[in-house]
Amino acid sequence: MLPEQHQPLRVGRVEPFPPGRRLRVPLRYHEGSTVEPTVRLGQSVRALDLLARSSAPPMSTYAPAAGVVTAIGRTPTSSGHVRIAVELAISGNRNGSLEEPRQPPARPSDSHGWAALCDNFSLVNTIDGRPLSSTFRDMSGKIVEHLIIRAMGAEPVETAAPAVLLEQGTTIIEAAELLAKALGAGHTWLAVGKNFEQGRRLLARITRGTRLTPVVLPARYPQANIHLLVASVCGRTVPVNQRPEEHSVCVVDTATLTALANAALYALPATTSTLTITGDALARTGDYRIPAGVTVGEVLESVGTTKPTGIVVSGGPLSGRAMPHPDVVIDETTTCLTVLARRTARAHDAQACLRCGWCGDACPVGLEPSALMSLAEQFAIDRAAELSPDACIGCGVCSYICPAHLDLTRAMLDLKRGHLSSMRSYA
């Protein structure tokens, strides 16, 4: 693992990010179901109007701002999927029905009711990208022993989750109690990094008298990884190819909780997400609340770059995904956008493995990346399976630390997915 970060995490306000001229709103649906827009081309919509509803289980998508539907088509999104999106030309009146008073929905009595409420307000668990209702459906009739709320960024540069905690602490506590009650959770934990001093002070104050237990974890990447987080918080080992729900544990982050609070208390559907915009090529960095449907290119245009852009990453620089072009839509599961200057992201010459063993020392799940890489190069998939490459969490620490600059992470993920091609070389 990387050394612990001792510098305090600096977190500012979550800034609003006004929609530009156009939004390509990706439609939300459960895996395996189909989705049809409920709007026509040329139709005017107000903010929070329904844009689409998927087949069973029905999940809704709403307009983040008022505008006119100019196109319906597929678009690549920042998590690597291609999704159907409704393109809106944003009109002058950006608020629309936001100003209208809304009736809070009735409080559901069982997990099916909660699942329907989550789908109706298009709530998504940002941590795993699945609709929040899946958690209720998975856990229906089962005991949730631990509910863990993550107020840590997946990577050191990500500050969105801590920023949301700082800004809406009491709302999050309220929503956490609501969710814990709805799931019937035995223990509720709120995890923050040791270097998030502002958050630790706030937590000590606002969790007093509640059923939430604050947990302070080492600020060491990849501590916030869902599997390592569960192991650290409640001592339960969830194998990497399984979900915490299968082990009676549920993990959500602070942004998901604010969305839940908005839905359950104020009947506001989720049409925005909180995004950390960071990187050494940018003029302004920070946390932004962006409407659904903003593209990567629009973000870059809005915050402005100061250096030639080398690589644009959805996620952090250690485990993120390179964006292929500016028209990729930032979807609701993306919590960070990193823009690296050309000099920073330059390629390094790879050399032969030295057997220094740093990768194995650094691997947070105890794998041997160098041995796995050489097996991947020899196509020895059976022998590689003995070293359990399935346990790789893709954190990127092995490649980061490798003095020979080998692509160990890529080799491990290829082995994990079973994609080996004869053209592959990791050097």
Binding site: R24, E31, T34, A71, I72, G73, R74, T75, P76, V82, R83, I84, A85, L228, A231, T237, P239, G297, T309, G310, I311, V312, V313, P317, L318, G320, R321, A322, M323, P324, H325, D327, L340, T344, A345, H348, Q351, A352, L354, R355, C356, G357, W358, G360, D361, V365, G366, L367, E368, S370, A391, G396, V397, S399, Y400, P403, A404, H405, T409, R410
Partner: protein
């Protein structure tokens, strides 16, 4: 998710470069690791020049130059010039020179570096794949080719007032041996011929001194107190290095400083040198020494656990163990040679096993007097077991 459905929305023609995470690679390159090791060995080399004169600097320069030249030719012939590593050649040349006797001819470092790079690095797999440390391959090659030059009975040390400027070529025997430090050098002579301390320590096993000036050879060591009080120089001398030994082997203080720097920079895990010294200390404390003789002078009784010997309230056995740790090639091997990145185990736990094994084997080889340069041989013997050690010391994988 779904691929079917309406057509793609129009996309701009701009394309960004594709790559896979991580996008930051701040780690030092493999070449710089070797440069750092060379830098850490510089204090040791400097101490060698001070203790053994300018001749040492020439040996080092020859060794490094030959290593670089051989490396360049090898790189040209195998068309992997950039990959093979200049830093590693410098490191190999430098470390090889540090293991050599201080008064060797200029041909020795040249041949040694040639063997180290050509055989140790080139033929035995290349940087990253070799089984044995090229430094040791070079040294062992020399020991086989020219045993007389590599394993002299007496080793020259510059006398009082002649450090740095003196000449080793006209050394003289000191008589009595242990008074050399206070004795005045004869005119025109700069250095004394002394035995290696590790061979004196090894003499305790059969109670005889085997090396050193002729006057000393065959002398009987009747007890530990006899050895420690009358034969060996004060222990502090072994820290400073004013004793007989290889060019970079004697100055324990400089070796420890360089080694701590390597540990601080993360190039060496602390487990290996610590386990090696622990293994050596335990073995030295346990290994039996001669305690009684018959009339013909044959050893008839041996005492186990010499490390527990007390003389009054003085822990004599402990001092004996400390001498074992700071004399001979043990420290240089512990911090600079056994820790070679390529030929040592990959895990900290494996390094504990390997280091402990090297420590135990070194003292056994030293005490039995089987072969000089015990620590080097111990490393060479255990290097082939490194992959086995790696396999046996794997970490438990999370969730499996």
């Amino acid at each position: 998710m779904s691929d079917a459905g309406p057509p793609m929305l129009p996309l701009t023609p701009t394309r960004w470069p594709a790559d896979s995470a991580p996008f930051l690679r701040p780690a030092p390159s493999s070449g710089s690791l070797a440069w750092l090791t060379s830098a850490a060995a510089l204090p040791v080399a400097a101490a060698g020049v001070v203790l053994f004169g300018r001749h040492g600097a020439i040996i080092m320069a020859l060794s490094v130059a030959t290593a670089l030249l051989t490396n360049a030719i090898l790189g040209y012939l195998t068309r992997r010039g950039g990959v093979i590593g200049t830093g590693h050649a410098v490191m190999t040349g430098l470390l090889l020179a540090l293991t050599l006797p201080p008064h060797v001819d200029w041909g020795i470092p040249v041949v040694g570096a040639l063997i180290a790079i050509l055989v140790g690095k080139g033929l035995l797999g290349g940087y990253g794949n070799y089984l044995w440390s090229p430094v040791l391959v070079g040294r062992v090659g020399l020991q086989v080719l020219d045993p007389a030059a590599m394993l002299p009975a007496s080793w020259p040390v510059l006398g009082r007032g002649r450090l740095l400027v003196g000449d080793l070529s006209n050394a003289t025997d000191s008589s009595p041996f242990f008074a050399w430090r206070n004795a005045n050098l004869p005119d025109g002579v700069d250095s004394w011929l002394l035995p290696r301390l590790d061979s004196l320590l090894a003499g305790t096993h059969d109670g005889l001194i085997h090396s050193g000036p002729p006057a000393l050879r065959g002398e009987r060591i009747t007890s530990l107190a006899d050895l420690l009080n009358d034969v060996l120089p004060p222990w502090g001398e072994t820290l400073l290095g004013t004793v007989g030994g290889g060019f970079g082997e004697t100055c324990a203080l400089c070796i420890i400083v360089g080694g701590l720097y390597l540990i601080h920079r993360g190039l060496v895990r602390w487990q290996l040198p610590v386990a090696l010294l622990l293994g050596a200390a335990v073995t030295a404390a346990v290994f039996p020494i001669a305690s009684s003789w018959n009339e013909q002078g044959e050893v008839i009784g041996r005492m186990w656990l010499p490390g527990l010997t007390l003389e009054g309230h003085k822990p004599l056995g402990l001092v004996y163990v400390l001498y074992h740790l700071t004399t001979g090639e043990l420290l240089l091997a512990a911090f600079f040679i056994a820790t070679d990145i390529v030929s040592s185990p990959m895990r900290g736990r494996g390094q504990v096993v390997f280091g402990f094994g090297v420590g135990v084997l070194t003292i056994c080889l030293r005490m039995l007097g089987i072969i000089p340069g015990a620590a080097y041989w111990a490393i060479l013997i255990l290097n082939p077991f490194v992959s086995l050690i790696d396999r046996l010391t794997r970490r438990r994988v999370f969730g499996v």
